[in-house]
Symmetry: C2
Subunit: 249 residues, 2 copies
């Protein structure tokens, strides 16, 4: 996948895209291109809808740009890595941040799970989706990560595909080489579920249930304590670098 | 290094520590333990000063706790990894965040460098130090990462130790396996300088100057664009996992 052309702002629009048509921008987008970026009619932007690749378009409108006229397609649609990010939700700003980071790291789906020590049980999935869109816009990503409704950990374990690899980031895991632990999973044909627990840790019952999963790698993220949003980037880096699309050329 | 006991709040105090003495808390700490955490006299905290390990102490004070009476030492002092984090500064909240993340990931020093495309040239190093302390307190870290005054990239290159390994995170690097790139550096006896550039990228002149350094690894951080704070965690994860203290048991 080529990196996108970072010179033009990128906008997500949830409508079909094709050459020659004009796309109406919503109020937030009009404000963003006109007032924040101070662009004018004739300036170029990139549009994507998560399904049909990326398109070059020219801003248009009378006073301030409120439309984008599509010129041509510049990237074909691709697929996100088969990596799911499963996490205990955090509060507000830190959840926003964690969602954005997981998207930047190429997560294909986001699944909040509540645990015995989770502080938050209600999760604003609309807000999660807004953060997915923002990160995809900023980071040249063409597909939107799927946002799932929160589930209790036990229910998620009950319904996950037992053929998927579970990468369990366990702060109680004995300190050992995380590259080697991931490499021991061998060639992966299935999806990879990367699980980061609550900052209070998993209970013993929960840990036992996780370690009983059929294909599980217990990952140690080094000798220091990491906050959950840091652990997200760190674990996804290792998964992408050992099993994912960072190690392929 | 064992993980710290996360049950007790940790406070950095810049005074000598020894068993039996009382340490006065400053106004922020008094507010934090009394009003935020709602602790009372007799509750336990952990104290560290960056030089003499970690100490268990009992809060004391008449109305609200404003002192901590040291009981005994519970961890000996250790040293931070010989990893320096060199970065183009970001604005305000994102710089706070990046500094905290670099500390969590075990950076031993933080060096802001200004480049041709750096947006920020003034850096509040006092605020950086406050973020270093906050991250160390929260993540069980015993030593404070050193905060250096900002330097232009060229001056930093001129004064760095030519025997150190430079890990140059280059978004223009051909996409290739980052683990292999780092492993090619072999056993590292020197310090490791991890460099993340500005979000606008390095200029060609700057890139050439970096690639002329005697011991340099050019690192690709995957096929997607990463924001600078994400790249920080990601690059430090790879360095710690391949060359640093994450792969040692």
């Amino acid at each position: 996948m080529p990196k996108c052309d970072a010179r033009h702002p990128r906008l997500f629009v949830d409508v079909p895209l094709s050459a020659g048509i004009g796309i109406a921008l919503d109020r937030d987008q009009t404000n963003y291109v006109g007032n924040v970026l101070r662009l004018a009619a004739g300036d170029m932007v990139l549009l994507f809808n998560g399904r049909e690749g990326e398109w070059l378009a020219a801003l248009a409108g009378r006073k301030r740009p409120d439309r984008a006229d599509i010129v041509n397609q510049i990237r074909l649609q691709d697929r996100l890595p088969a990596v799911d990010y499963i996490f205990a939700p955090l509060k507000h700003a830190r959840l926003d941040y964690m969602v954005q980071k997981a998207v930047e790291m190429g997560a294909g789906s986001l699944q909040p799970v509540t645990t015995q020590r989770t502080q938050m049980t209600r999760v604003n999935t609309e807000r999660m989706r807004a953060n997915v869109i923002e990160a995809a816009e900023q980071c040249g990503i063409l597909s939107l990560a799927e946002v799932h409704q929160p589930l209790p950990l036990g229910r998620w374990l009950g319904q996950r595909d037992a053929g998927d690899l579970l990468v369990f980031c366990d702060e109680e895991a004995p300190h050992s080489d995380p590259k080697a632990a991931l490499a021991s999973a061998g060639a992966i044909q299935s999806r990879i579920n990367v699980l980061i627990g609550p900052e209070g840790g998993f209970s013993e019952d929960e840990r036992n249930a996780l370690l009983r999963q059929p294909k599980v790698v217990r990952l140690s993220l080094g000798p220091r304590i990491l906050r959950a949003d840091t652990a997200a980037v760190s674990a996804l880096t290792l998964v992408q670098a050992v099993l994912g699309d960072w190690c392929k050329s």
